[in-house]
Point group: C2
């Protein structure tokens, strides 16, 4: 991983990904006690930043390999990003999803044109199914985060933040990123290291699923005790990635964590003050900016709202309770 | 009104208004049967395009006049736009609002720093109250639409659409605009006449409140039978403006209308497919694009999502029923 790879990915993404706006509201500034800028990746194609990494990985393949098709394991945003990027590259995607994944996510992934292969979490191994399919059909596996071209694609979020901050005269800020496996976080950190060294990335995770925050403290990869049972499903992973962790260790931290209710409060405020739809896992960075002000320094905080793929019923309930 | 005034307003707005994105989704294209592009003015400062006209009007005043303060009558988006623009110009705003206006809108207008003067719709005249206050304090009235500098400010939406369409190679399209008094509609039409003559503005109104559509047919100003009783409150006005109508008559039409349920369906689709929050009156153009395909020609339709200031409870109910 280096900045040349990131620039090469950005060149391939140009004209295909959305340059997402950096939104703000005086009401949010007042809550946080400082200026809050929100990089709205929920407005990205497929509803999350994952489209960037998927496009980067697909566009980096040799034409002959790409036309054989790609495969991914995911029940969520990576599935939709890969499915849409494959369709726009005029190739096929197989997405291996657990049969108990939310119906909406299965429907959406199919609607983007992907072939969805369901498996039983209890009795089947998705890796075995994937390996068999990949072997039979010559498919290329697109990993969700521990893959250099994926990290390079997500890094384009950081290049845009660096440019947007410079246009506003900002050269010092904490940049809060919602962190799962660390692909977005590591990518943004590398881009900022090169283009805006005064902007420092802080990881944001749900309380109780803070594998990255703990790993940054201990200096080695720590695991979560559980990988389910939190509304922030998009960013719940067993542990930081083997490629992403060393990058985060060098450039990021200290990590921040927030509770589920604070994530929902941030969703309701993003609704009322920014007019954007953010999913729970995409709202933890904004939640940290608003509700952990004493753990942040400086006059400006930039946070990434990383995705907006949330069920209408859950969103309605969040507005009813926290709106 | 001429294009020079519009360019002068755009120069004053530069760096102060958001250049809002033109969003899209393959799911919406499929429903509409053509490419749908959504100019997301709900992401504008203060949650609607009204901030543009307010900024234009305030910035056009002489410094000595501006520092005396401004006044506006409005229970909604114009109130918030004027209040925020006044605050950012470091001057004061008085907003005359009916005492039965939604509590949230009163709270927001105050939170932007405006002085809210409430009146009783049944027994008091807002004009008398406004005239008295304006006289006493030397305040300048900022009208919501029938004011050249306000129209020139709203026109910047059209300049941006022209540029964004050109970047995508689009030179022919219907441009659907949510129409109340016609300030946004007339402004966009003038900008497109100059910069993108192949883009034609069509007005969009709620069923039963189609004063502009009927006026475009009859060739003279027609009135609505009622001015309340529809969820699209932001665009319910008694009749087209004296300044805006001749512009719309020359450049716009034929008008489109949609029912309340279609507006809510469009809100739910903007939520799930674009991840933006649109209020009922801001959703009628998208509703027309999606649900009146036989009344639209061509491969591409551009619609303005003009505002997103909607109560959480109403939004939650819309998602529950139509999500």
């Amino acid at each position: 991983m280096n900045i040349e790879m990131i620039h090469a990915a950005a060149a391939r993404l140009k004209g295909h990904v959305r340059h997402t706006p950096l939104l703000s509201s005086p009401f949010l500034d007042e809550i946080a006690g400082r200026r809050v800028l929100v990089k709205s990746e929920c407005l990205q194609h497929s509803g999350s930043f994952k489209f960037r990494g998927a496009w980067s990985a697909l566009s980096a393949l040799a034409e002959s390999q790409r036309k054989q098709g790609v495969i991914a394991f995911s029940s969520g945003n990576h599935a939709q990003g890969v499915a849409l990027a494959a369709r726009l590259h005029d190739t096929s995607a197989v997405i291996v999803m657990p049969s108990d994944a939310p119906a909406l996510k299965i429907t959406n992934t199919r609607a983007y044109g992907a072939e969805v292969v369901l498996y039983d979490r209890a009795t089947e191994s998705r890796e075995d199914i994937g390996d068999a399919l990949a072997g039979e059909r010559g498919l290329t596996l697109i990993k969700p985060y521990d893959e250099p071209e994926v990290i390079a694609g997500q890094a384009s979020v950081g290049l845009e933040i660096a440019q947007q901050a410079a246009n506003m005269g900002i050269d010092q800020a904490d940049v809060l990123v919602c962190t799962g496996g660390g692909g977005l976080t590591a990518g943004v950190a590398l881009a900022l290291e090169a283009d805006a060294p005064g902007l420092r990335v802080r990881t944001c995770e749900p309380d109780g699923f803070d594998d990255v925050a703990r790993s940054l403290i201990s200096g080695r990869i720590e695991r979560n005790a559980r990988t389910s049972g939190n509304i922030c499903d998009a960013i719940i992973t067993p542990q930081p990635g083997a490629l992403t962790f060393p990058i985060m260790q060098r450039l990021c931290g200290p990590g921040l964590t927030v509770g589920e209710e604070d994530a929902q409060r941030a969703m309701a405020l993003a609704f009322s003050r920014l007019k954007i739809v953010v999913e729970p896992g995409g709202a933890v960075a904004l939640a940290a900016a608003l509700f952990r002000p004493d753990q942040i320094a400086g006059e400006t905080v930039i946070c990434v709202a990383s995705g907006g793929n949330v069920d209408p019923a859950f969103f309605a309930q969040t507005l009813t309770e926290f709106g």
